[in-house]
């Protein structure tokens, strides 16, 4: 059973496709990923200026037709082909679901692939090859988790108590719920992030709503008038994980990372409810932000100051030394002031 849910992850030479949400809301995460893959692991990864959004968020909001998204995906594959690569690695879980869906569609409906090739040719003059290997960025970090562990300066251990940190993993729905065999461990027991937690010394938190959606819901979040859907689903998860006293949440989906961070702030403002310890929230990190911390990178060079939930309680538990004064500084130490403090949630 377990063997059926392993996946092939190419060893080197990747074409990198970016995420709209990550670039805007976690603007250092992708450069950090490229640094870990390129410099720490010595792999070849190509960052192409010509790529664009995959349109996935618009597709799942019902405003662009499937044919459009399929052709934009084909253009990304054409760019990969022109650049001389065969292995496609994407940064966004919505995109990963989109790319996988289009490849599966072409497999089962070959006439759709031909229609797409014709549409792309007419629109742009481009042609493309199907990627030999399609993975998500978290798959790469999972594949090389032992190599990363060998270089880390810190482990997921509470420095004061010597106990493993309690880590919640949240897998974006479109990583494996649509095509379970395309995700490590499938939809029921995804291991892509849990494997990192195990390898880097932490303890997995197995709570009842572990597999529940974060509540993005595309048009449900994107419209202010529907947004109650989104915060309610995240709250369901927070309420479920709270009794296990998590020290940290990690996520592999850009939207999930954002919502699990920001909805803690909103719930604290709306209900006075805080899920972390000592008045702080539960820090929420991406997988490469966690890797970067354990590798000893400066948290303020990784953009952890643009999370709404303060990460300092986690840094203190890990025993990571940091300079509080550098947190909100610009280039060459320029003083940029500080964000206003929330009314309820403690921040630093």
């Amino acid at each position: 059973m377990w063997e059926a849910y392993q996946k092939e992850i190419a060893d080197d030479h990747y074409y990198f496709a970016r995420s709209c949400i990550r670039q805007n809301f976690f603007p250092a995460a992708e450069e950090l990923f490229l640094k870990i893959v390129g410099q720490e692991l010595g792999k070849d990864i190509y960052d192409d200026p010509r790529q664009t959004t995959c349109t996935g968020i618009a597709y799942h909001s019902g405003i662009v037709p499937m044919k459009t998204t399929m052709t934009v995906v084909a253009r990304q594959f054409a760019l990969m082909t022109e650049a001389g690569y065969e292995n496609f690695v994407c940064s966004c879980v919505t995109s990963f679901g989109i790319y996988t869906e289009m490849l599966e569609t072409w497999k089962h409906f070959p006439e759709k692939e031909q229609e797409t090739r014709d549409a792309l040719k007419r629109a742009t003059g481009m042609t493309f090859k199907i990627p030999k290997n399609l993975v998500h960025c978290s798959d790469l970090v999972y594949k090389f988790r032992k190599e990363i562990a060998a270089k880390t300066k810190f482990r997921l251990i509470n420095k004061q108590t010597g106990e493993p940190l309690q880590v919640v993993d949240h897998i974006g729905c479109h990583y494996a719920k649509i095509f379970p065999k395309k995700g490590i461990g499938g939809a029921e027991f995804p291991y892509v992030l849990a494997g990192m937690i195990d390898e880097w010394g932490g303890a997995q938190v197995d709570y009842p709503e572990r597999r529940h959606c974060c509540g993005f819901g595309f048009r449900q979040y994107l419209l202010k008038s529907n947004r109650g859907y989104s915060v309610s689903n995240s709250k369901k998860k927070f309420d479920s994980m709270e009794p296990f006293h998590p020290d940290l949440i990690i996520a592999n989906c850009p939207g999930c990372t954002f919502f699990l961070d920001r909805w803690q702030y909103v719930i604290s403002e709306m209900e006075g409810k805080i899920y972390g310890q000592n008045g702080y929230g539960i820090p929420v990190l991406t997988y490469e932000e966690l890797a970067g911390l354990l590798l000893g990178y400066n948290p303020w060079d990784m953009g952890l100051q643009v999370h709404q939930v303060a990460v300092e309680p986690l840094l203190n538990k890990l025993g990571i030394e940091y300079k509080p004064d550098e947190k909100y500084k610009g280039i060459n130490g320029l003083d940029l002031g500080k964000p206003e403090m929330p009314n309820v949630l403690k921040c630093c």
Partner: protein, 232 residues
């Protein structure tokens, strides 16, 4: 003229999404939307499977088809290989195609999505873009966003991004050539036509409701995006 069911069958997501529903309700049990809205994906599958034209038309004019969050949790769990989320995608596309989307309050909101996410794609090459995100429209972004946005040029440079710069990197300026490719793909594959349909039908609805229909974030956009607090 093709029936609504025949139109649905032209959409491969409908073909893939509906095999043979046994009405067990597992999809509803797992569905995040069913836990929040008065929404039941089992009923969606049942209605389209029965194929009653009047009932399908009613569905296309209803709020119901707009409640799904497209998380696709239903695909994983259905014991018969159905995917109500795919059926919803096909229903939403047909609702816009037929113009029925303006008959429901939720359907009307497609205009607000077109004028944000849809237009960002063609203007910036990103679905979401920092310049368009503020805490008035997205208050959950919190005070950290106000600070970050105010200092974005400095902060993005410190974090190694290439905001508004040519070449590779985070938040780089998408080239005119790439944006032109997107526009031509939209023209070629029906997205431009869908955008026009959303605008044209919305204009009719807005005027019916007494709004002065304009471009961009006009009063009708605000009404859809923020919600009619009296009825919601």
């Amino acid at each position: 003229m093709a029936t609504l069911k025949e139109e649905l069958i032209k959409d491969i997501r409908f073909v893939e999404g509906l095999n043979s529903c046994i009405n067990c309700g597992v999809c509803t049990a797992i569905c995040p939307a069913a836990q929040f809205y008065n929404y039941d994906p089992r009923m969606i599958a049942d209605t389209v499977q029965k194929g009653n034209e009047a009932e399908i038309e009613q569905l296309l004019k209803s709020d119901t088809i707009w409640f799904c969050g497209e998380c696709l949790s239903c695909k994983t769990r259905c014991p018969r290989g159905n995917t109500p989320g795919y059926i919803i995608q096909a229903l939403r596309a047909l609702s816009i195609e037929t113009g029925f989307f303006i008959e429901s309050q939720q359907g009307c909101k497609q205009l607000a999505l077109k004028r944000t996410i849809g237009e960002h794609i063609l203007k910036y090459g990103y679905c979401v873009y920092i310049d368009e995100v503020n805490t008035q429209m997205y208050p959950e972004q919190g005070p950290v966003w106000d600070w970050f946005k105010q200092n974005r040029t400095q902060m993005l440079e410190r974090l190694g991004a290439k905001y508004k710069k040519a070449g590779k990197g985070t938040l780089r300026q998408i080239s005119k050539e790439s944006l032109n490719d997107l526009q031509r793909i939209f023209d070629e594959t029906g997205a431009t036509e869908r955008f026009e349909k959303i605008e044209n039908q919305s204009a009719i609805k807005a005027r019916e409701l007494g709004f002065d229909f304009q471009e961009g974030k006009d009063a009708y956009f605000d009404y859809l995006y923020n919600g009619n607090t009296e009825s919601e």
